[in-house]
C-alpha cells in the first residue's frame, strides 16, 4: 500500500501541476520586474506628490502635506503658461506631421522608379538619436554658417534670422525639427493603410463616376482614418513629453519661450530637486495625457465601429 502510493503520487502530482506551475514560473519574473520598475515607482511617486520631500536630502523623511503641492501648482500662472505653450506646440506639430506625413504617403503610394529608395531615405530621421538631431540642427540653424537660412533665401551669412536665439521663432524652430523627424512615422502608418485599400473600391468609384477629389474624401480618407488616428495618438502623447529636442536645441530659452511642460518638470525634479512638487506635476501631466488619449481612442472606436 505504502509502496504503491510513493510510486504513483509524484507522477500524478507532476502532471496535475504542470500547466499552472509552468504558467506561474513564466509569468512571475515579468510580474516582479513590472512591480519593481513600474508599479512601485508609480505609487511611490503618487505618495510623494502629497509630501514635502527632496531626494538630495534623503535624511529628511517625506512630510505629508496633503493637497498643498497640487494647490500651489494649479495656482501658479507660470505653470498654466507652460501648459498653454505645450498645447500650442502639440497641436501645431502634430497637425503638421499628420498633413505632411499623409501627403508623403499619398505620393509614395504610387509605385515609381526608385520609390523604395525614397521611402527608406525619408525614414532615416526616425532612426537617429534625438540628441544627435539636436546638435545637427543647432548647426543647421546657425545664422553665420547654417544651411537653413541659405535654403530659405538668405544667401549672405548673418543676414537671416537667428532661429534659436529669438523668442518669437525658437518654438517654431523646434516644431520644424520635430516635424522633420516624425512626419516619416505618420507617413509609414498611412502608407500601410493606403496600400491595404483594395483596388476594386476605386474601380467601383470610377464606374460610379466619382472625381479623384470625391474619391479622396469618400474612400481614401475614411479608409486610412483608423491608422492616421493611431499615428496622431502616438505623436500627441510623444509631443506632450517633448524634452530631449528642446534640451538639445534651446534648453527652454531664450527666456522661457520654449519652456515646454516636460522641460519645466525636468528642471523641477533634477535641478531644483523639489521631488514632492514635481511628482505632483508629473501626475497632472499624466491625467491630461490620459484624458487626451481617451478622446482619440473614443473617436477611433467610433470609426472602427462604422466599418
Amino acid at each position: 500500500m505504502q509502496l504503491t502510493q510513493t510510486q504513483t503520487a509524484p507522477m500524478h502530482r507532476r502532471r496535475s501541476l504542470t500547466d499552472v506551475q509552468i504558467q506561474v514560473l513564466f509569468i512571475a519574473p515579468t510580474i516582479i520586474l513590472l512591480v519593481l520598475w513600474n508599479i512601485f515607482p508609480l505609487f511611490y511617486s503618487l505618495y510623494l506628490s502629497f509630501t514635502e520631500f527632496s531626494v538630495i536630502k534623503p535624511d529628511v523623511p517625506p512630510a505629508w502635506i496633503g493637497l498643498q503641492n497640487y494647490n500651489k501648482l494649479l495656482n501658479d500662472p507660470r505653470i498654466w503658461q507652460y501648459f498653454a505653450l505645450t498645447g500650442r506646440y502639440v497641436v501645431t506639430t502634430v497637425a503638421l506631421q499628420a498633413i505632411i506625413g499623409f501627403g508623403l504617403a499619398l505620393f509614395l503610394r504610387e509605385r515609381f522608379k526608385g520609390s523604395g529608395l525614397v521611402t527608406t531615405l525619408i525614414l532615416i530621421p526616425i532612426m537617429m538619436s534625438p540628441v544627435v538631431i539636436g546638435l545637427f540642427w543647432k548647426l543647421i540653424y546657425n545664422p553665420a554658417f547654417g544651411i537653413f537660412n541659405y535654403l530659405i533665401g538668405y544667401s549672405v551669412p548673418n543676414s537671416g534670422p537667428d532661429w534659436l536665439g529669438e523668442a518669437s521663432r525658437a518654438l517654431w524652430a523646434i516644431i520644424i525639427v520635430d516635424v522633420w523627424m516624425w512626419s516619416p512615422f505618420v507617413m509609414l502608418l498611412c502608407l500601410s493603410g493606403l496600400k491595404a485599400i483594395p483596388d476594386y473600391l476605386y474601380e467601383a468609384a470610377a464606374i460610379d463616376r466619382a472625381s479623384p477629389w470625391f474619391q479622396f474624401w469618400r474612400i481614401t480618407l475614411p479608409q486610412v482614418a483608423p491608422l492616421l488616428l493611431i499615428a496622431i495618438l502616438f505623436r500627441t502623447i510623444e509631443a506632450f513629453k517633448t524634452f530631449d529636442l528642446v534640451m538639445g536645441l534651446t534648453g527652454g530659452g531664450p527666456g522661457d519661450s520654449t519652456e515646454l511642460i516636460a522641460v519645466y518638470l525636468y528642471r523641477a525634479a533634477f535641478t531644483r530637486f523639489t521631488t514632492g512638487e514635481s511628482s505632483a506635476l508629473a501626475y497632472i501631466i499624466l491625467v491630461i495625457v490620459i484624458a487626451v488619449s481617451n478622446l482619440y481612442v473614443r473617436s477611433l472606436n467610433r470609426i472602427r465601429g462604422e466599418q
Binding site: Y200, L201, E203, A204, A205, A206, I207, D208, R209, A210, S211, F214, R218, I219, P222, Q223, E306, Q307
Partner: protein, 361 residues
Amino acid sequence: MADIELKQVEKRFGEHYAVRPLDLFIKNGEFVALLGPSGCGKTTTLRMIAGLETVSGGRIILNGQDVTWLKPSQRDVAMVFQFFALYPHLTAWENIAFPLQAEGESRENIKRRVKEVAELLRIEPLLKSRPGALSSGDQQRVALARALVRRPSCFLMDEPLGALDADFRETMRSEIKRLHILQNATTVYVTHDQIEAMAMADRIVVMSQGVVQQVGTPAEVYHTPSNLFVAQFIGSPGMNLVKGTWADNVVALPGGNRYAPPDGWPAALHRGLSGSGVIVGFRPEAVQIHPNGQLAAGVYSVDLHGSYTMLVLEMGDDHSIHARVSRDAHFTVGETIRFDLNPSMVRFFDPKTERAIAHSA
C-alpha cells in the same frame, strides 16, 4: 439606352492573349450573356467595355460614340462586381447614393431616387446597415441598387450570383431578369454557369480560351452548336458525341451500329466532311427507345430523377452516351436496348476541323 458594338477588340497581357479579336453587336435593351469556362476572357471583355481595362486593339462603340479611349466615368455604364465591391465604411444608403452624390445631384433628388430603387429591390429596412452586417444576398441587392440608381444606358454584371448560396441564386436570377424587363437596359452578363445564361439571356456568347465560339439565342447554342466545344459545354450533360466513319451513305458507329442519316444530311456530309471520319451529335432527349430502332446499346446505369430517367448507355467498348427517357419506363442494368434518334435533333461534326456540318436544306 444604348447599343454596344465591339470591333476587333482584343486584349493581350504580355505575349498572352486574354481575348482574341472579337466582333460583337449588342442591340439596345438586349440581355447578352458571356458564357465560358474559367479563364476564357469573360471578365476581361467586360472590363474593356467598362473602361477598367484598356484594349490592346480594336474599337468599342457605345451608342454610336467611339469610347475606346474614354475613362469609365465618361461611358455611362454601371457595373455589378463579382464580390459586390461595396464601400465597407458607408451604409447601404450611402453606398446607393454614392453615384448620385458623385454627380452632385440635389439632396431631394438623391433621397427620392434612393428610396425608389430601394423599394424596387425591397431593401428599405437595410438602408442603415453597413455592408459587413448584411448577408451576401442583401449585399448583392445593395450592389444592384447602386448600379440601378443612376439609370445608366447599359449594365455590366460580372458573375453577380457567383458568391451566393445555390438556393438563393435562383431567387436573385429571376429578380435580375425582372429588373431587366422593367428597366429594359442593355445588359451584358458574365457567367460560367450555362443554366444561368440559358435562363436569362436573349443571346449567349460562348467563349473559350479568349475566342468566341458561337453567338446565338439559348435555343441556337443548345440545338445547333457550331462546334464540338459548344456541343459539349452547353447542357448538362452535354451533347452525346459518337465517333464514326462515313461510307456508302451510312455512318458506321461503335459496337457494330450502322446509322443512316436523316433526309438532307447525306448530301451535306458528302460536301462538308474533310475525310471519312465523322462525329454524330445528339442531345439525351433525342433518343427514342423503339424495339425496331436502328441502333443498339447496353444499359450501363439508370439514374432516376424526379420527372425523368437518365440512362447511361454503352455503345461498343467504353463509348457511353446519355439518354433521357420517360420515368414510367423500366430498364435493368446490363440489358440491351434498341433506339432511334429524333431526325430533327441529329447533328454532325467534322472531327478534323471540330466544326459542325451545315444542313443542306
